[in-house]
Amino acid sequence: MCTTCGCEEATHDHRHEHVLDLEIDVLAKSKRYAADNRKWLAERGIRMINVMSSPGAGKTTLLERTIREAKKEFFVIEGDQATALDAERVKAAGARSIQINTGAGCHLDPHMVRHALEDLDPPRGSVVFVENVGNLVCPALFDLGEAERVVLLSTPEGDDKPLKYPHMFQTASLVLLNKIDLLEHVPFSLENFTLAVAKQSPRATVMHVSAWKGQGMGDFYGWLS
């Protein structure tokens, strides 16, 4: 076997024009779409916030309450494998929304988000939430062109999650500990959580909220404004 290219020929008489040395970033296309989204949003003064968590942590409930209480017009891009349930919920709360169904996909990508943005056509200066597919792993990898990333963790999930899912927490601008009203009913150590977040997300702002009961939500509205 030729040791230069690994082909089957025993001698080295053949030419190696068929070996291409390259430097192709596999995510280059996705990064280009994200950069293009960022430019599109900047030109319109639109702030896009990528909201991520595991399924059931309370993303939609957070958005519903925010839409009802924060006295501002919001736009929402919803990502789920199936159904338009979440788009319906935030629409009922008063936001214009669009649902992306990813089918087998585990995350939103910047190309899908661009189409959704163009369809939503939010006005200059508005705030767009992207509620990503519920998943603490894959969405962390894909830049959508957002200005900020909000990562939710709910108390029933356990205080060790920032350590177990480092990629997600490392990229967060804001970490929201949700379902704080359940703190006394679940085995969750605020001290361990605080240490874990300090380790994984040293630059992130951290807030404790109950999106369902309303506790701490004023802090979130303050962060938004």
């Binding site: 068929h18 291409l20 390259l22 430097e23 192709i24 970033d25 296309k29 792993v137």
Partner: protein, 77 residues
Amino acid sequence: MHELAIVESMVDAAEEHSGGRHVKRMVLQIGALSAVLPDAIRFAWDVATEGTLVEGAALDIVEVPGADVKIVRMEVA
């Protein structure tokens, strides 16, 4: 399984650079901080390359430091 999306991007890039020739072997560098799992890439490889210029190609994965995922070499027919 975002690795399926990664392999699909690899196939796109390979077809763009192979000049229409069939790809026999591809060398992929995966950064340890990239959140891309070599085993999951291998798992997705056969399905995602089927019916493309990369179908049947051997895949060599080199794990490196850093966060990038790069195709560093292709052998084409």
